[in-house]
Point group: C2
Chain length 238, copies 2
DNA sequence: TACACCAAGTGACTATTGTCACATCCAAGC
DNA sequence: GCTTGGATGTGACAATAGTCACTTGGTGTA
């Protein structure tokens, strides 16, 4: 982890605007807001494997992911690892602990070279006070997160492993992707931690679907060949 | 469902202050804020079984529960019912759909005679504009909700039925309750929908614990006799 | 090229939990 | 008291998914 020289801020201003415009719920920030985010934030770079956020730490900052990809995961008290989400550029991270003053419930780990804009609690409060729309934006980000969490609970509870894996694969799929490529090429163990199944079970399920031409698994990369069928499976009765 | 006569507002003002002060994250509202909530909101009463919020509806209002108790639940596309939470007076409900303009993902059903303060989107936006602290309060409410959801995911994923049921029982337990009584006396089927287990499995687990003196089940009411042991079970390795 | 390592594939077995089918029990009313 | 419907208790069985123990494959490096 390395703090990028402040002088870079001039360069990064445009970049931030671009990233937010593309992906984020912060897309509609006006120039003054962007300027303040940049002015009061710090750009930090993380190597693959570095933690942007560490479970158990006090949560005194908020991050906006600028480039790279990160995994949000937590270790239950019995050692079980659970992957909650994968974050893309534009994503806001770490709001929960910042807002309620509690510990970080999950870790966020860079899965490749990643840069983020870090905003301390003090800076965050100033920005919130100065730009009233920021609060509303954050509220939307969080509404989104709750929906995702509820969908996860629904999937875990109501569906058996097949439909569930289908759902997680669809969640990883890019809308207009050529050849059904996924946003991230996860190993089968990682897929297991994400979908809540053992590696072996993932393997068997993928093999079955591969035979039926629903997905392909080549050199460790899963592709969705038949999006429609996979969607049907995701909503199957059991 | 019945809208209470506006004249009641004078009476309810004190009541609202009292309720919020006791239970809610809105406890620190000042008088002007409370007055605005009451002025722009509608008091509505619900009979047992009425829906305060219905899954699938457009979400154009926010509720604050004033008295009674309600269950937040959703029906998955395969018909499986999942109870997400039980709401007490002071709880804010329905923020998610209000904020992101989406459908209501879950229903909220009165499980006894219940009253709530309903605030429309327009009124909500005015209040938010006028009282800057309201946004921050809502942010905290939502942070809380995300933590609860993550805890649920963690529990569902990492633990077997025993520890899981223990967790849900503890979630229903009142801190200083005499005799370990729960906040709500749920039937075993309802407990099942809450903890994600079949009614029969709930029954067997409770029987076992009952023999060990950890809980008691008399006339359909569960009480926690040995809080410490139950907590241990909730964090057991499997 | 050979070694090392880690991801992936697979068979056999086990464990946990759900399902089905009843028997009971109990509280509310008639 | 009697009836009745819903909540409970319980045994037997089935199904889903995890675990264990390997084998196989692929990639990077000495």
């Amino acid at each position: 982890m390395q703090v990028i020289w402040d002088g870079t801020k001039l360069v990064k201003a445009d970049e931030l605007a671009g990233i937010l415009a593309e992906h984020s719920l912060f897309a509609d920030c006006d120039e003054a807001e962007l300027a303040d985010l940049i002015l009061r934030g710090h750009f930090v770079q993380y190597e693959k494997g570095d933690d942007l956020i560490m479970q158990g730490d006090p949560g005194n900052s908020l991050l906006i992911l600028l480039s790279g990809n990160a995994r949000t995961s937590l270790i239950a008290s019995n050692g079980h690892e659970i992957v909650l989400d994968y974050a893309e550029p534009g994503q806001v991270l770490g709001e929960i602990a910042l807002l309620d003053g509690g510990e970080r419930t999950a870790s966020v780990t860079a899965i490749e070279l990643t840069t983020a804009l870090t905003i301390t609690r003090a800076a965050f409060e100033e920005i919130l006070k100065k730009h009233k729309n920021m609060a509303l934006r954050l509220l939307k980000v969080m509404a989104n997160r709750i929906r995702t969490a509820n969908t996860m609970i629904e999937g875990d509870r109501a569906y058996t492993s097949g439909p569930r894996l289908a759902r997680y694969l669809l969640r990883l799929s890019v809308v207009g992707a050529e050849e059904g490529r996924l946003k991230l090429d996860l190993s089968q163990s990682e897929l297991g931690n994400f979908a809540g199944m053992s590696r072996e079970h993932i393997n068997r399920q993928l093999s079955t679907w591969s035979e039926d031409g629903i997905v392909s698994v080549e050199s460790g990369k899963v592709r969705i060949l038949n999006h429609a069928t996979l969607s049907n499976i995701a909503n199957a009765d059991s």
